[in-house]
């Protein structure tokens, strides 16, 4: 059970939080323009690295705020937690 720092409330127990998955690019501004493959890429494909991972959590039984957490998927060490001030740019369609 992790101990997580909410950037707004401080160190709390994992039971107060809900996991929101790997941070993903923002939603495409015009999904209709994407091919099925590109859309599937946005929906389903994630990096899932062994090591440091940027992910989203929400302090659901606390302040209700979403934030970004950097977690080592091998050791569960938490490196950084920060508010969602700089959202990533819109989803880019890759060339390959």
């Amino acid at each position: 059970m992790l101990r997580i720092i909410c950037p707004y409330c401080g160190l709390r127990d994992q039971t107060e939080f809900r996991f929101g998955g790997e941070s993903k690019p923002r939603r495409p501004s015009d999904p209709a323009a994407l091919s099925d493959t590109e859309w599937a890429g946005y929906l389903f494909y994630r990096e899932n690295p062994r090591g440091l991972l940027n992910e989203r959590w929400v302090h659901s039984y606390g302040c209700g705020q979403w934030f970004e957490l950097v977690r080592d998927t091998v050791t569960h060490e938490l490196k950084r937690s920060a508010p969602l001030v700089d959202l990533p740019g819109p989803h880019q369609v890759s060339d390959d």
Binding site: R27, P31, A32, E77, L87
Partner: protein, 981 residues
């Protein structure tokens, strides 16, 4: 009563406090301080249990939690506890214990026939043999003859507690290493928790005969404990097992109560640092017939002798591959019991040991091993051979003390994902890389010799204190005298692999023959090997056997043990009672009951309540009315007069702000931008995969103020989803979302006389159809209460949803019933509502839809197609699979015989004989008897359903088969005339 094997003096049992207990129906005597194993041994009991598979007699093998043989059940009735390890059961007055395997009795077990025919029962036997006609047809028989213990059938009457706690340093184990570390860290001012799984603190100091600072080591234990108890922030827990270490060092403990009103207490500890002082477990030896009663770990013999004053045998042979077993020879000699022979597989032993053996006149056979044992209910003799298999002779004995080396208790380290390495010298797995904030000292770290072990603990505790900001000078550990000099050297196993009946797992009855078969069939990876043979998978988890088994696997496959590796240790370390994990969160405390604001009035109306997350009236029977009759009467009342339904749990999510309409337009498949103020739209929400996640109505109260009525079960989910979109994707939208579900009560007045009833209550809202048409909303007062009145219908009748402040709910409902009396009003419950909505074919998301349903599948595809703007899930609707023909789509069903009952869950079958196993063409999602139509009706999903109206299908409904006709999913008032009243 006499106890033939009890010594006249010695031990720490209290001879002035005798205890009477029963085992397998016979009464015995023990003393305070005994455990069940020591007391039964003192009484000369040989057979404790029958083995798992072959039903062979088994005695007691160890003196701790690692016990693989002496498995018993304690207590009776609902308080019975299966699969207790006898050495872990403290002896209490009136204790009742029974062997749990063996039929008809442990002394005469018919299952022994399996042993005599053991060749027919190899590893993997069940999986290979009982395949025809199916495993299920054999399962009952097999479960009766194999397995451990009987599960309880009654609710657990015992009470369990839970504690959550933080500390600086958690020390697991209170042997010399743990005590020394606790004392040091405690003096440094750390908040220390010292946890000991046994009845008493001290670990091996309780049963080894060391001298510390010139005094018996038990005195030193008492001194240390006294000092620890005087330290305020130090917590000492005995009878408490560390069951697991999880992420971020969260550690769970299971404490067994004694004279407490709770049976067990489950601790969740968040320590800053963990120090493992968990010691080591002596391992058995592998030789033919090494499972007989009377074969016992050498350290367990010392344990019973020194701590419990029990002589576990009269003619003793010792077999070993290391030095530590010699202490057993010396301890027995002190009680004037001469060991007949020491069988050591090593070439030589140290001069010091040779000298001491010579002084005692004990025979030593080096370069020797056991060829086999004899005896039925107890060992009678051992046959001895040299390491090349040349016969040496036999020795009579009734106790064979064995030592196969020591396996450090590294289980907890493995839980925390520390790594292990194989150590050639001690032939065991030792800690390698340690996780952060975990240290390990003492025998658990492979450290031998009391002196070195104490010094190591002092160093570790000081380092931890320093790291936690409480540096201190290293104190001096006590001076050690009278301990035998231990060498860590263990001779590698020297196995005769041609002998199959050598047990490598006593608890699960796995033999070397099974291992050999597994290897022959290719299960040579240690994890495959374990699962195929089931080695180490019993209650003891292979604590006294795994190490040898993996060394044997190495021998069978020609690999060194280090290369074979070990299986992964996972929590819990020892079995944990489910009741302890549940703690107080059972029964009424499992989840809070949510009551409707008008609950008292419903109760007065004789409502039958059901838990739908909220306690909701299911129906309201009159006098002796049956449930069915009540439900049908309620439906008919709504169709013909007026009914009132408490709809308070419906979601009341307020969405406000200048961008509220834009926001909701992105969430709904419907056009929200075009919805005028004062109007309502029924809408569907999808996830990004295009799957329907909720339906409900969206009410535009004002230009920038919406009220979203989501399904009652989905409220918190939808609110969370809205927040996620706003925070993570569209922070630029000026929108505020608030869940006000419990602030407002909501009552549905439905039926042709609904308007009359609402008027009679007194309202300043114009209820005329022109002023408040279907799908319009108005705010004002009703009965002088602030109110929102929405014309929305979940029944197909003229219907008003009246929202009033929750605190006024009881008064309002009572007033409605009085005002409606003249119009024939009746309250109706969930059951009637479900019939009303089924008659109209109104969707119930989650019943009529599943994780694949798109708007097209439920007849709402046109709405999505008509919307030109993007919305959540829109792109996915255009994926190939979502456009494909043959999707399961919503239709109605009528039984050809109107009186034939149909039920949700029945399958619509394709295929000639239309009986399972057959391909399914769809299934019934909702079904009821419609009192309005006088027949059974159902909603179902069917492949390409809307194209198949009129088709006759066979439904497989439980054991029944009957025909149904496919119809449009609206059974009543398809033109919606009644809504427009």
């Amino acid at each position: 009563m006499t106890e033939p094997a009890r010594l006249q003096s010695g031990g720490v049992i209290d001879r002035r406090k005798p205890i009477t207990f029963r085992f397998n129906g016979k009464t015995y005597r023990g003393y305070e301080g005994d455990n069940l194993a020591s007391a039964l041994l003192a009484n000369g009991v040989d057979v404790f249990a029958r083995s798992f598979k072959y039903h062979r007699p088994r005695g007691v093998f160890s003196a701790g939690e690692e016990e693989p043989c002496a498995l018993v059940e304690t207590g009776e009735g609902a308080s019975r506890v299966p699969t207790c390890r006898a050495p872990m059961v403290p002896l209490t007055e009136g204790l009742v214990a029974n062997s749990q395997t063996g039929w008809p009795s442990v002394d005469f077990d018919l299952g022994r026939v399996i042993d005599f025919t053991h060749g027919l029962w190899p590893a993997g036997f069940y999986n290979k043999t009982f395949k025809w006609p199916s495993w299920q047809s054999w399962e009952g028989l097999i479960r009766k003859s194999a397995g451990l213990g009987r599960p309880l059938t009654e609710p657990d009457p015992d009470h369990y507690e839970q504690v959550n706690i933080h500390c600086d340093l958690l020390i697991c184990g209170s042997g010399p290493a743990g005590l020394m570390a606790a004392l040091t860290a405690g003096r440094a001012g750390l908040r220390v928790m010292l946890v000991e799984q046994a009845e008493h603190f001290g670990g091996s100091l309780n049963w080894e005969q060391y001298q510390l600072d010139g005094k018996p080591c038990t005195e030193w234990v008492e001194q240390v404990l006294e000092q620890l108890r005087a330290m305020k922030p130090v917590i000492t827990l005995q009878r408490t097992t560390v069951t697991g270490i999880y992420d971020h060092n969260v550690t769970t403990l299971l404490q067994r109560g004694q004279d407490t009103d709770w049976r067990e207490c489950f601790w969740t500890v968040r320590p800053k640092h963990i120090l493992l002082c968990s010691g080591a477990i002596e391992q058995g030896l592998i030789f033919p017939s090494n499972d007989r009663p009377g074969i016992m770990l050498a350290s367990a013999v010392r344990h019973y002798l020194n701590r419990y004053a029990v002589r576990p045998g009269n003619r003793v042979v010792v077999a070993t591959n290391n030095d530590t077993a010699y202490q057993t020879v010396f301890d027995l000699a002190r009680e004037r019991l001469q060991v007949e022979a020491v069988i050591d597989c090593r070439e030589t032993v140290s001069e010091a040991l040779l000298q001491r053996l010579a002084d005692l006149g004990t025979t030593l056979l080096t370069n020797a091993r056991i060829r086999g044992t004899q005896g039925s209910r107890r060992i009678r003799s051992v046959a001895i051979e040299d390491n090349d298999g040349k016969r040496i002779g036999t020795k009579k004995c009734d106790l064979l003390a064995v030592s196969g080396g020591w396996a450090p208790r590294v289980h907890l380290l493995a839980h925390a994902r520390g790594s292990l390495r194989f150590d050639e010298v001690s032939q065991s797995f030792l800690p390698d890389a340690l996780p952060r904030e975990i240290s390990i000292t003492g025998a658990a770290n492979g450290t031998a010799g009391l002196e070195e072990l104490l010094a190591e603990s002092v160093r570790a505790a000081c380092a931890i204190a320093g790291a936690l900001g409480k540096p201190m000078e290293q104190p001096k550990p006590p001076i050690v005298t009278a301990a035998i000099t231990e060498s860590r050297r263990v001779s590698p196993a020297n196995l005769d692999t041609t002998q199959p009946r050598q047990w490598i797992d006593l608890a699960h009855d796995v033999t070397l023959g099974d291992a050999e078969l597994a290897v022959r069939e290719g299960f040579v990876s240690v994890e495959h090997f374990k699962r195929y043979t089931t080695i180490g998978m019993s209650v003891d988890q292979g604590k006294t056997g795994n190490l040898n088994a993996f060394i044997a696997l190495g021998a069978l496959t020609g690999r060194p043990a280090g290369e074979v590796g070990t299986t992964t240790f996972r929590p819990p370390y020892t079995p944990v009672t489910l009741g302890a994990i549940a703690g107080r969160n059972i029964g009424e405390f499992y989840a809070p009951r949510r009551y409707l604001p008008a609950h008292l009035t419903h109760a007065k109306l004789n409502a039958c309540f059901e838990d739908y997350d909220w306690q909701r009236p299911d129906y309201y029977p009159l006098d002796k009315e049956s449930a069915e009759a009540a439900i049908q009467r309620e439906v008919t009342t709504v169709r013909n007069a007026v009914g009132v339904f408490d709809n308070s749990p419906i979601g009341k999510i307020e969405v406000c702000g200048p961008d509220a309409a834009i926001f909701l337009d992105r969430l709904y498949i419907n056009n929200i931008l075009s919805l005028p103020a004062g109007r309502i739209r029924y809408g569907l929400m999808l996830n990004e995969n295009g799957v329907i996640i909720d339906d409900g109505v969206c009410i535009r109260l004002n230009e920038d103020h919406f009220l979203v009525n989501s399904t009652s079960a989905a409220v918190s989910r939808i609110v969370a989803l809205m927040e996620q979109w706003l925070q993570c994707e569209w922070p630029e939208l000026r929108v505020l979302v608030t869940d006000r579900t419990s602030d407002w009560a909501n009552f549905t007045l439905a039926g042709p006389r609904a308007r009359d009833t609402l008027s009679a209550l007194g309202t300043n809202i114009d209820l005329a159809p022109a002023a408040l048409p279907h799908m319009a909303v108005s705010t004002g007062t009703v009965m002088g209460l602030e109110a929102r009145v929405a014309r929305v219908s979940f029944s197909g009748e003229l219907s008003f949803e009246v929202n009033v402040p929750a605190l006024a709910a009881n008064d309002f409902l009572e007033a409605v019933l009085i005002a409606g009396a003249a119009h024939g009003i009746a309250p109706y419950g969930i059951e009637a509502l479900m019939i009303l909505r089924t008659e109209k074919g109104y969707l119930h998301v989650g019943s009529d839809t599943d994780g694949s349903s798109t708007p097209d599948d439920v007849g709402w595809g046109w709405v999505a197609r008509n919307k030109s703007r993007d919305f959540i899930g829109r792109r996915s609707l255009y994926r190939e699979a979502n456009q494909a023909a043959g999707r399961k789509q919503l239709i109605g069903l009528e039984t050809l015989d109107p009186g034939r009952a149909i039920h949700a869950g029945g399958h619509l079958l394709i295929g000639k004989d239309r009986s399972p196993p057959a391909e399914t063409d769809g299934w019934v999602t909702s079904a009821c008897y419609s009192p309005t139509l006088g027949r059974y009706i159902a909603l179902a999903v069917l492949c390409s359903g809307p194209d198949r109206i009129g088709e006759i299908l066979t439904v497989c409904d439980g054991n029944q088969r009957f025909n149904v006709k496919v119809v449009a999913p609206v059974f009543y008032d398809p033109e919606n005339k009644r809504l427009e009243n």
